[in-house]
Amino acid sequence: MDVLYFAWVRERIGHPKEKVETTAATVRDLVEELRAREDRYDAAFADLSALRVAVDQELADFDADLSGVREVAFFPPMTGG
């Protein structure tokens, strides 16, 4: 699965994209796996209320199911316009 990071999440983690092998059932499970990897992941995901997630390019919530999903993205609240 591709995992993407944007804005300060990308900066804190240090790269914009990575391939992740996971059996995580939900976004929340995936976040726990990532946090266990390294401090920079742990720091980036410390406050989930400051983060948004998209699953296959659609906004989702942290309980979203990951079965069949190819792309998950993490980012702060959007500031377009």
């Binding site: 998209a54 390019q57 702060p76």
Partner: protein, 147 residues
Amino acid sequence: MVVRVQAEGFDAGGELNRFTAACDGAGAVVSFTGIVRNRAGAPLREMMIEHYPGMTEKAIAGIEAEAVDRWSLGRSLVIHRYGALAPGETIMMVATAARHRADAFQAAEFLMDYLKSRAPFWKKEIGRDGAEWVAARDEDEAALGRW
């Protein structure tokens, strides 16, 4: 429904004229242009806009489809830039055309409210003494509540 996500600058007036010329039967055209403001105090060197290629176009198309569904719209246009912008440059523009002005105004405001908080763009302000991600404003999130 036209959506353009691009790094290049664009001519808002020229876009407005082309949009209006293509709107057969519309009596009302509303446009919104967003401009990089300078900051009081610490001058802004540039604004960097990051986006999520692929999701951006899909999200905007979804927002436009909802606007068409809710109001009696002739056409709509969304142009949004990414990359480095200088103060005074045009970040983005929305235009809507309808027979009557209420539809054109409401659809344009709706598009703007959703683009602000639901299209995957992030702004970073780069000044002389450092850079800072622009925080989402509570009132922008609250603005969605009215639709």
